[in-house]
């Protein structure tokens, strides 16, 4: 057989259920049906029900086949995944909804995440697959979502959408930099310079990799290597990405920081970056209780104070950062004050101030 290359992905139309093929581009509106389920109504009057179920994203082929069984049974053999890694079952038959949900729940995949709710946590590899990780991803996600499950399933009501993301290092695979709540793995020790560095890496590349010019060429025992000016290192690990001979991980100092108030949608307010809330929490596997509690606390503040469809960042702008820190019981510290490139613009350059 000829080796085929550059064929690209299958054409998407092959994978669209007939009701979508028919009504493609001709949807009229959608409505919530119950938590985790919505219906889209087409101009033709056709209806498409979507049942969204939680997924850990890390899926075994066994589980995928189970999804397939359900899709074959209830959805004519079609299903999809969402941009937040949930799985969606699509059916035109309203009567399929309840049995499908029952089976999904039996399988351990609660239904929810639609409309005003807390959806899946977008996350990354962590200790499961990445060399760069300062924390695990899946373990924290599991622990946090176990705790927030009622906000996913709709058992508890929330004022709007809240997006949580996790990245296990500053590379921030995913959208940690723009999430309502972001959990970020962090190193807090400068890289160790391995003895064989010059065999593994080009020194000028390594020096150039550092955004804060913390790396200098050096000689040790007559061998070319680099040295790290520790005060200038802010632990970004870019040097490690460029050169494996500069490991960053540290069992005691690595951990997690918590960020709040980012968003990407353009609704009402413009997209915003996430801002530092908690500079450091320890790695405490398997259930990272400090992280779980902090996230819950922040979620609860939002649930209590946000107006309808108000995102975390919008709410904080309205009630003020001083109040947010007070409510969350977080100590404001030097770390919270920006000292990087756009630091000037992060200062309170107005007399508009929440005094209470």
């Amino acid at each position: 057989m000829e080796r085929r290359t550059d064929i690209g992905p299958p054409h998407y139309t092959k994978f669209l259920p007939p009701v979508i093929q028919k009504n493609y581009g001709k949807w009229k509106y959608h409505e919530g049906v119950r938590p985790g389920v919505m219906v889209h109504v087409a101009e033709s009057g056709d209806k498409l029900y979507t049942i969204r179920a939680a997924s850990p994203r890390l899926l075994s082929v066994q589980k995928i086949r189970q999804y397939c069984d359900l899709a074959d049974k209830y959805c004519d053999g079609y299903l999809r995944f969402t941009s937040r890694n949930n799985v969606e079952f699509l059916t035109t038959k309203e009567e399929n909804i309840e049995p499908l949900i029952a089976e999904l729940e039996a399988l351990g995949h609660p239904v929810g995440g639609v409309g005003r709710s807390i959806s899946n946590i977008v996350h990354t590899q962590g200790w499961v697959h990445c060399h760069s990780a300062a924390t695990d991803a899946s373990g924290i996600v599991k622990s946090v979502m176990d705790d927030l499950i009622d906000y996913f399933t709709g058992k508890k009501e929330v004022p709007g959408k809240l997006r949580i993301a996790l990245a296990c290092c500053l590379n921030m695979c995913g959208a940690v930099h723009c999430s309502d709540i972001a959990i970020l793995g962090i190193h807090r020790r400068p890289p160790k310079v391995m003895a064989n560095l010059s065999q593994m890496c080009e020194i000028p590349n390594v020096v150039a990799a550092c955004p804060t010019a913390a790396i200098r060429p050096a000689k040790v025992d007559g061998k070319d290597t680099v040295e790290i000016i520790e005060e200038q290192c802010m632990y970004c690990a870019n040097c490690f990405s460029v050169c494996p001979a500069l490991p960053m991980a540290d069992a005691e100092l690595d951990g997690v920081s918590i960020w709040v108030g980012g968003k990407v949608s353009n609704a009402r307010s413009q997209p915003m970056f996430s801002k530092l809330a908690v500079p450091y929490l320890p790695n405490n596997p398997p259930r990272w209780p400090e992280v779980v509690q902090t996230v819950r606390k922040i979620v609860e503040i939002w649930v209590e104070h946000a107006e309808p469809d108000e995102r975390m960042g919008e709410m904080i702008q309205r009630i003020g950062w001083p109040r947010f820190f007070r409510l969350a019981g977080i100590q404001f510290s030097k770390e919270h004050i920006d000292d990087y490139r756009y630091a000037a613009l992060s200062l309170k350059r107005t007399a508009q101030l929440h005094q209470s």
Partner: protein, 397 residues
């Protein structure tokens, strides 16, 4: 494959409890058949005990003729967990919108059960199907079976990464252009650029059908295409009144939160000054069916988003305020623009410098000149607020 060595995993076992689906259960399920998955459990448990990861970089691995699509990964505890001594992932270009038939999915499962750990990510953060963990010798086999099934690898390294999009017209009444079509067409147009890294750094593309941006394009893609419209919001006064009657406080909850305050509500009728509407979607989101995007629909093209490495995170910014994306011409314009961008960036970009960082380093105005676009006020949040102008004309005079 046979079942592998079993490890005690008391820490991980904790994560089988609770209502959220458990990734540990998934690994254990895979471990029923895959010794790799079993070893992964062992190494992961050790990480949980030691609070440190055990993966390392290694040589570049891949399939013949491709430079991207596989992430080489090695355990630093290879002696202890030989099954995961090599544990590469394969990135597979997902179908636009992440729709599948069960047939296709089962095909993928079969390949991966035979040639890998049986563990996947559905999906990776860029959008790919991730086959999580295999050895170098399996790569070609996986590849040939994948292509037989109609799938191909996605991007990795300094190439075009697998484009992704929201489900757009497939299921959303707000899609202002056909995200899945544009995503597919761009993917096909740039197969070479996806598979053979030749850029200073990665280049991502994401398409969202409207400003809700359900794929986070503005935050995560070097090229972000976001749907919008030019004309008036479609408005059904009867249905609006219904929302009001049902208790929506249109004044407080909608009108006074419009970013440009371009709406008025007199208690009965909503008046939108569409000239000042910035198409934020908020009022439409809040009253679906009663309000809808206009009829003259299309997209805007933005450039430059990225995560913090190296110079700090960036959001994409407007490059083309409005493009139709339906006709041949606008489609060619878009492709030409991309080629211009890559040419300039490849020529002058530094290693590991994303295109957004590059454009800022050389000056956004200079960048525009180099890629052949006229500057327009739509591209800026505000014109410069410092007087440090490099007046060019004067110099030439």
């Amino acid at each position: 494959m046979a079942e592998g060595k079993k490890y005690e995993t008391p820490k991980l076992d904790e994560l089988e409890k609770g209502a959220w689906p458990s990734f540990v259960k998934e690994i254990k399920a895979a471990a029923q058949k895959s010794p790799m998955a079993a070893a992964l459990l062992g190494q992961l448990e050790q990480s949980y005990n030691e609070k440190i990861g055990h993966w390392k970089h290694g040589g570049i691995v891949g399939v013949v003729g491709y430079g991207g699509g596989v992430i080489g990964r090695y355990s630093d505890l290879g002696d202890k967990y030989p099954e995961v001594a090599h544990f590469h992932t394969i990135r597979i270009n997902h179908p636009a919108g992440w729709f599948y038939t069960t047939e296709a999915l089962r095909g993928l499962c079969d390949i991966w059960e035979e040639h890998g750990s049986g563990l996947t990510n559905m999906h990776g953060s860029t959008g790919d199907i991730i086959f999580l963990g295999t050895t170098t010798d399996q790569l070609e086999k996986v590849f040939s079976k994948l292509t037989a099934l109609g799938f191909d690898l996605g991007g990795s390294g300094s190439d075009v990464r697998t484009p992704s999009c929201c489900n757009g017209m497939a299921r959303c009444e707000w899609a202002c252009y056909d995200t899945m079509k544009v995503c597919y067409n761009l993917t096909m147009a740039f197969q070479d650029e996806i598979h053979r890294p030749a850029f200073p750094y990665k280049f991502k593309m994401k398409m969202a059908g409207c400003p809700n941006d359900c794929v986070a394009a503005i935050a995560r893609a070097d090229l972000s295409i976001i749907g919008t419209w030019k004309d008036e919001i479609q408005q059904d006064d009867e249905l609006i009144k219904k929302f009001a009657d049902e208790g929506l406080d249109i004044q407080r909850q909608i009108v006074s939160r419009c970013p440009t305050r371009c709406m008025d509500w007199d208690g009965k009728k909503l008046t939108i000054n569409n000239e000042n509407c910035v198409k934020c979607m908020f009022c439409i989101n809040s009253m679906p069916r009663a309000l809808a995007p206009g009829k003259e629909r299309g997209a805007m093209v933005l450039l430059g988003a990225k995560a913090p490495i190296v110079q700090g995170a960036q959001l994409s910014s407007v490059l083309i305020p409005f493009i139709d994306l339906e006709d041949e011409e606008s489609w060619n314009d878009l492709k030409q623009l991309l080629e211009n961008i890559w040419e300039v960036w490849c020529e002058e970009g530094k290693n590991r410098e994303r295109v957004g960082e590059f454009a800022l380093r050389v000056g956004f105005g200079n960048f525009l000149e180099a890629i052949g676009l006229e500057p327009t006020p739509e591209m800026v949040a505000y014109p410069r607020d410092n007087p440090y102008v490099f007046y060019q004309t004067a110099k030439k005079e």
